[in-house]
């Protein structure tokens, strides 16, 4: 019976694929690799690796503690490598930080005001909800890689020319 090995990528070991162009513009495929992007990122930069109109997927290098953040809509994260703890606080007045209609992640000034909701410890492949109206911060003892599903906001960094195969 065949024994299979599932190949995941990591900051330490990843292999980028290939693009063979027959009759097209390679830029149309916006081809990048999340581990490569995170390797060259500063901690907690939110670098877009995919964009569909206002929606984005951001790659985040998690290392140490992040600032506190919140959002006026649900966001989600998937841990691609490492271990990350997410700490949550239910904001007393979320509208004052991220008013309804405000898109994307919003960074808090200082500590959040509200009730502590708890923590979630994530390992590779784990997905967490970052619920609307809650403040959250990430903490990673070693460099880790997150994907975040959100909407383009003030903190989203777009640098396609630097990260994409051309």
């Amino acid at each position: 019976m065949t024994t299979y090995h599932t190949e995941f990528g990591s900051l330490k070991q990843y292999a980028k694929g290939t693009m063979e162009i027959i009759n097209d513009n390679p830029k149309y495929y916006v081809y990048s690799n999340v581990f490569e992007v995170a390797s060259n990122a500063r901690p907690y930069e939110k670098i877009a690796v995919a964009k569909n109109l206002e929606y984005v997927i951001e790659t985040i290098r998690a290392e140490g503690a992040s600032p506190w953040m919140t959002c006026a809509h649900d966001e989600f994260c998937v841990l691609m490598d490492g271990e990350v703890e997410v700490e949550y606080v239910k904001l007393d007045k979320p509208e004052e930080v991220a008013p309804s209609g405000k898109d994307g992640t919003v960074q808090l000034k200082g500590e959040p005001k509200g009730k502590r909701m708890g923590t979630i410890r994530l390992k590779r492949g784990h997905q967490a909800l970052l619920p609307k109206g809650a403040a959250y911060r990430f903490n990673a003892k070693t460099p880790s890689v997150l994907l975040q599903q959100t909407i383009k906001g003030d903190l989203t960094i777009e640098k396609w020319g630097e990260i994409c195969m051309q």
Binding site: N33, L53, E75, M117, R124, Q149
Partner: protein
């Protein structure tokens, strides 16, 4: 020489019923499916492997005709008009369409869906699962009619409102609800996230092991939603062998390769002329532009995150040229 315009098909071939939908006819024998349609006063026909046809029609049914074009192969397929559906033969094949031999007919979606389900019910033999990898389902698809497999073909795409496992939302996968770890993912960690919720917030903090969830998928090439951010849908899926359809986009979609490797052959949506070939490895991200068709090849079962934008008016905005077919300029 083409067949005459009026043809009389036998009611059954090798025990399989023959079907008509509008001007299309569908028949199958031990090995093949044949589709015919009217063209230039005669009948034009096209033959596919029964295996390939049934895997394709299964996805079309399960996905409610999906987004854009579902090409069963280079000749036959469907185009979702969202409420109505076009069946086409040769319309997106440069040679057939150029020769004036293509045919398109529009149906109310429920009518076409009902006929496709009838075909599946009759043509899928006992033991054949159109969602399974060939190594798992063998060659029971071939031969004379031999029973049915309604359990396999009546699976539906999992509908998630926010995230699986939340109260009132779609379930997670485990041995207890019939989702065993697939043979190709036996080495995937089954450990769940550690959640420490303060009193009163037990239902608001939520996380799950997405890779465990995917390792327990009992189907291939069948995305299901695992997170919803307004119209942004994460639709991960597990892939092995060949994507049974050639998907023609009516919007930009994105792929994030979560594990292993998939090769994508990309061609022009209208003509089928080859444009590019991408081999994506774990961690790779790529867009599929709105004016292409693509088919994937996975030599080992892999985890793929398909990212869709479900904004309702997108196809019309692309058709009108309001949006460029590629997602970003740089």
């Amino acid at each position: 020489m083409n067949a005459p315009a009026e043809i009389k098909l036998p009611e059954k071939i090798a025990g399989y019923k023959t079907f008509t939908l509008g001007e299309f006819t569908f028949s199958r024998d031990e090995y093949f499916v044949t589709v015919t349609w009217p063209a230039k006063g005669q009948r034009q026909s096209h033959t596919m492997s029964a295996d390939a046809f049934l895997r394709a029609i299964m996805r079309d049914v399960a996905w409610g005709f999906f987004y854009g074009l579902v090409n069963f192969d280079a000749v036959f397929g469907t185009r979702n008009l969202y409420g109505k559906v076009e069946l086409f033969a040769g319309r997106y094949n440069e040679a057939i369409h150029g020769a004036g031999l293509s045919y398109v007919e529009t149906f109310e979606s429920p009518k076409a869906m009902a006929k496709f389900k009838e075909i599946l019910s009759d043509w899928v033999n006992a033991g054949f699962d159109p969602f399974a990898a060939p190594a798992e389902t063998g060659n029971t698809v071939f031969g004379e009619k031999n029973g049915s497999n309604l359990e396999a073909i009546e699976r539906f795409r999992v509908a998630t409102k926010r995230m699986p496992g939340l109260e009132g939302d779609s379930p997670l996968r485990d041995d207890s609800n019939g989702f065993a770890v697939n043979r190709a993912f036996a080495d995937v960690s089954q450990e769940e996230p550690e959640i420490k919720a303060e009193r009163g917030f037990e239902k608001e903090l939520h996380a799950f092991n997405l890779f465990k969830y995917l390792s327990r998928s009992d189907v291939t090439w069948n995305p299901s939603v695992t997170s919803v951010c307004r119209q942004s849908l994460f639709c991960p899926t597990t892939e092995e062998y060949i994507l049974p359809i050639i998907h023609g986009n009516d919007r930009v979609e994105w792929f994030v390769q979560l594990s292993d490797e998939i090769t994508w052959e990309v061609s022009d949506r209208e003509t089928g002329r080859p444009r590019a070939r991408l081999t994506m490895k774990a961690g790779d991200v790529a867009a599929m532009p709105a004016d292409i068709r693509h088919q994937g090849f996975a030599k080992k079962r892999s985890m793929l995150l398909v990212w869709e934008n479900a904004t309702p008016d997108l196809p019309k905005r692309y058709e009108r040229g309001d949006l460029k077919p590629w997602p970003v300029d740089f």
